[in-house]
């Protein structure tokens, strides 16, 4: 049932493509090619999230948003994430982007819940 929304350009459905671009831009902007630094991680996560939220607000859609960002240093260690949602699958959606550079992994997830 969720696939029908891909065609609808309805104001009130979650647009995965738009959100995915917003996320990628924010991460590139804030982190780019920087090297992992313990002192800066806090700042990076805050900035990525803040930029995402600002851009999402600018979309002007009737949605509540939840944005999470996880930054992990590349060390050979493994990482798994999963999410489970109880919502209205016709109007709500999520977009999860995995990004990496030479020294770290970044996973940003945006959940949009219709008001």
């Amino acid at each position: 049932a969720g696939m029908d929304n891909l065609e609808a350009t309805d104001e009130s459905s979650f647009s995965v493509d738009e959100v995915s671009n917003i996320i990628k831009e924010s991460v590139e902007d804030v982190i780019g090619t920087a090297h992992y630094s313990h002192n800066k991680v806090g700042q990076w996560t805050s900035s990525v999230i803040e930029q995402c939220v600002n851009q999402l607000t600018r979309l002007g859609k009737p949605f509540k948003y939840i944005v999470t960002c996880l930054v992990m240093q590349k060390n050979g260690a493994g990482l798994n994430t999963a999410s489970s949602c109880y919502w209205d699958s016709q109007t709500d959606g999520s977009c999860i982007i995995k990004w990496e550079n030479k020294s770290m992994y970044v996973i940003v997830s945006v959940f949009g819940l219709a008001v």
Binding site: C69, M72, Y86, W87, S89
Partner: protein, 141 residues
């Protein structure tokens, strides 16, 4: 494969209790009252129990952990739904990572109605893995 929230009645309201199959009347409730609010204090033990139950004595295993991760999210979501919190939509996120001395940082920010919506988190660590679980509860008007 996602569940749909069902419009439910608030028994405290003056509307009559409707049987399933009949039309459900509007409750005109736009704010959760205190008892039905998503309170972190009530929800945290739920998550904590699930993590402790399923992860104590587990070691990080490449194949098994991804399945375990999904199971945890489903279990947490099922338990939160069973605990009441009518009219709430839930988003549960679980991250399990191997402990190898690397640095990790996880942050979140939400654009919502802070009067009715809230979140609860828990972290579990043992020698070989760490696990972060977050559950967000968003009121559906």
């Amino acid at each position: 494969m996602q569940d749909e929230p069902v419009a439910t009645e608030q028994p405290q309201q003056q509307q009559q209790q409707q049987k399933e199959g009949e039309e459900v009347a509007n409750t005109y409730v736009i704010r959760p009252n205190f008892e039905s609010k998503f309170r972190p204090l009530l929800a945290k033990p739920v998550i904590h129990e699930v993590l402790v139950e399923r992860l104590t004595d587990k070691a990080y295993d490449k194949e098994a952990t991804s399945g375990l991760c999904k199971e945890l999210t489903d279990e947490i979501k099922a338990r939160l739904r069973a605990n009441g919190f009518e009219r709430y939509k839930f988003v549960v996120q679980v991250a399990i990572g191997e402990q190898r001395g690397q640095g990790v940082k996880m942050a979140c920010r939400c654009l919502w109605d802070s009067d009715s919506d809230n979140y609860v988190q828990d972290i579990f660590m043992n020698d070989s893995l760490f696990c972060v679980a977050v559950a967000f509860g968003v009121f559906h008007y």
